[in-house]
């Protein structure tokens, strides 16, 4: 198990018992959990390698209660970590041992659906998929579809700016929400954005989205709904080498096609998923591409002809077209189950979330394969190829001493390779605790200082989700120094004088 040492030394001014006593009148005795057996289920989120027990878990049931909890906490200097469904993969909802965990799971209602204005107002604990299900009969849906959409909550999606397999065409969370209600650290309620396409003033909607719970607590979300496309069909193409598959991706985009989804899997991922869900993937292929096209039936037909042609020219060994909805879903079933499938072939796996310019795909895959050998850990790659978002899955065994630490180091090296290729350390999972060190590689001191100033503008005492997402300059100085001392000087093959 990994431990996370936050940079901050923020401690509640109240003793644990006193915090509980202050919060019970606010939310009721049943909604303040403080006994060890009550706290245990909340000690981690989707990044279960990191665990920490909060002083108390508080489950407010109304916006007024959230405001009052925040007032009590800010007046007494009690740190607060907000949590939705707890499916996040970067430790964003990891509790802070000297603070409370504010759990928003009771905010689970869809408040209104407005088909004429194509929007829905929902509470933050509503599951992502539940929104699309609730509006399906109106011919509408909510576009962002993270793999965890069956379980993850919309509030968490906002905090992480969650993506999914349809981002290239339909964008991330930030592109698909219209308004938020946010409780500030002082317990004041503000409305950001509105039921319209733009609002005057600074774009706090963009700022709040992806801010990982460091700037405020989201208590209501207005999402945009889109009409379901009339037609959606998928092509499944197999390739004998990964480079050709990578070129095919660029060629599809260059041909002027904007696929709804464009995903790649390498051979280890193909084999693992085929064994698991029998999606009909060619297990001998070096890589497969799934290309989904949507729109009017006529448009989709045109694009299928175009993409088939591009794939053939790019050297695809085989191309299959989904003949019906069942087959389209089967093509996707492997990709959507890739993580659990890999979980079946290895005791543990660790999911990385780097983004690169697509042209760097070939070189980054070679680098990952080289690093995989260096660290003696297998890596299976699934890849949102359309938008350059890589998810290498590192296979490891947590029971073997030192293997998790080696895995984390390998993950960090992969992210640093993404940065070197002109990319970034997180496409959609967030920084959380997981990638805090790589923030030092991605950003300079000036940018990090500006992030801290923005944080201070919203939360001067630093009570919201302390230590996450943005490293202190001191931490970065230490990390960068260790990086050199650890014998991992960048470009070791370059002669130094």
């Amino acid at each position: 198990m990994a431990t996370f040492a936050p940079d901050t030394r923020i401690r509640s001014a109240l003793a644990p018992g006193a915090i509980v006593d202050r919060l019970i009148p606010v939310v009721g005795e049943d909604h303040v959990l403080h006994r060890p057996e009550q706290l245990a289920p909340y000690e981690c989120d989707g990044l279960s390698a990191y665990r920490s027990v909060p002083l108390a878990v508080v489950l407010p049931g109304s916006v007024e209660e959230v405001c009052e909890v925040m007032r009590v906490c800010s007046e007494n200097g009690v740190p607060v970590v907000a949590r939705g469904a707890g499916t996040g993969l970067s430790g964003g909802a990891l509790p802070y041992e000297h603070g409370i965990l504010l759990v928003l799971s009771r905010f689970n209602r869809i408040l209104s659906i407005d088909p004429d204005n194509r929007l829905a107002v929902v509470q933050p604990g509503v599951r992502n998929l539940a929104i699309s299900e609730a509006v399906s009969n109106l011919g509408l849906y909510y576009a962002p579809d993270p793999s965890s959409q069956i379980a993850c909550s919309i509030g968490g999606n906002v905090a992480e700016n969650a993506g999914g397999v349809h981002c290239l065409k339909y964008g991330l969370t930030v592109h698909n929400i219209l308004a938020l209600k946010v409780v500030t650290v002082d317990g004041e309620l503000i409305e950001v954005g509105g039921p319209r396409l733009d609002s005057p003033g600074y774009d706090l909607l963009a700022l709040m989205t992806g801010s990982e719970g460091l700037l405020g607590v989201v208590v209501e979300v207005t999402v945009r709904l889109l009409p379901k496309p009339a037609s959606a069909r998928a092509l499944l193409a197999s390739f004998d080498d990964v480079e050709s598959a990578g070129r095919a991706v660029a060629d599809i985009i260059s041909a002027g096609v904007l696929p709804a989804g464009l995903e790649m899997m390498d051979n280890p991922s193909i084999r693992a998923t085929e064994d698991f869900v029998h999606a009909g993937y060619p297990v001998d292929a070096a890589a497969i591409l799934i290309c989904e096209l949507d729109g009017t039936a006529e448009e989709v037909d045109d694009q299928i002809v175009q993409v088939r042609d591009v794939l053939a020219k790019a050297g695809a060994a085989q191309v299959r077209l989904s003949n019906d909805e069942a087959e389209r879903i089967r093509f996707w079933s492997g990709r959507k189950n890739a993580f659990p499938a890999v979980g079946r072939i290895s005791p543990d796996y660790y999911c990385i979330d780097g983004t690169i310019p697509r042209r760097a795909l070939g070189s980054i895959l070679s680098e990952i394969s080289r690093l995989s050998e260096e660290y003696g850990l297998a890596v299976a790659n699934v890849f949102h190829a359309g938008d350059g978002n890589l998810h290498p899955l590192i296979l490891y065994d947590a029971n073997k001493p030192g293997e998790f630490e080696r895995t984390e180091t390998l993950g960090g090296r992969i992210l640093e390779a993404c940065v070197a290729a002109g990319g970034t350390i997180t496409g959609e999972h967030g920084v959380g605790v997981e990638k805090i060190n790589q923030m030092c590689v991605l950003f300079g001191d000036a940018e990090l200082e500006q992030f801290h100033r923005v944080k201070a503008a919203f939360d001067p005492e630093g009570l919201l989700n302390p230590g996450k997402a943005v490293p202190t300059l001191a931490r970065c100085a230490e990390f960068n120094a260790m990086h050199v001392h650890g014998g991992q000087v960048p470009f070791p093959d370059i002669e130094r004088f």
Binding site: G194, R196, D198, T355, G388, G422, R453
Partner: protein, 350 residues
Amino acid sequence: MEYADIAERVGEARAAGAPLSIRGGGSKEFIGRTPQGEAFDVSSCRGIVDYDPSELVISARCGTPLTELEALLAEHGQMLPFEAPVYAPDATIGGAVAAGLSGPRRPWTGSLRDFVLGAVCVDGRGELLRFGGRVMKNVAGYDLSRVMVGALGTLGVITEVSFKVLPAPRVERTRVFEFDEARAIEFLASAGVTPVPLSASCHLDGELYVRLSGSESGVRAGEEVLGGERVEQDDDLWRSLRNQTHPFFAGKLPTWRLSVPPAAPPLGLSGACLTEWGGALRWIRGDHDWEALQATLSTVGGTSTLFRNGDRGGEVFPAPDAVTRRLYTRLKESFDPDRILNPGRLYGDL
């Protein structure tokens, strides 16, 4: 002009306590409140920094004219989908981002802000900062490049921007319908829940114009679903809306920009109303009492801006509530503690 020159100039201005009024092509001087401070022309900081069509990303320096950028994209069959206004040929991308305005395609493909992937800017301390990046998905750090959009240069001098771009549609055609305002709004609301490739709308004086974009077959199918009459030579209409050169915008009367939920019924305000964006953007002209206007709009969830003409010395954007105002002030101070950058352009006290 290099980024370092811009940083140096801001540093000098800060040391001298002399605010700057940042200027690109100067085509949007009328946006926001009356500029104050010494003019700081950054239009010579120009040029494409990076463009690879297969990446769907373009990066350019702030002084690059929008028309130059769009011409390059068009050569490769791509576009900036948000159709930012080009009020004069030398309108720059830096100015477009600072103003944050989007044109007719906005409701269907997204706003300028939606397509910003990263920005380089100089804050009010003269510090060069890089936020976001040149990749499609990036959630590392606060999204401060998007916060620059629409901030009217009050948070930083934008020196470089990276945009996501899209393939340009092969075919665009326009249909016209004889509908009154209420009927047009209803029609657009019902069209909005069907998968028709809409890309622009305009209602004025009993006529609704609707643009369809996509492949030949997709557009033809959309035309059959919607009905109406085909309009030839339609480019001029959409350009005149994008750049507000349509006769509706002529003259010196105040122009009000109303952002509302698209299906909001006709607002019953005096004078003609030009409706775009599937109903979500409504323009009116003439003298209106700000408070009365805002009261009408708040009943439907809308908001109003004194977009052009009228008293530019007073506030032109509606006042935020007290808590939001405090956050705006702190955010401004986090970037520009001495209020060197475009003071008073967005709000009188910022």
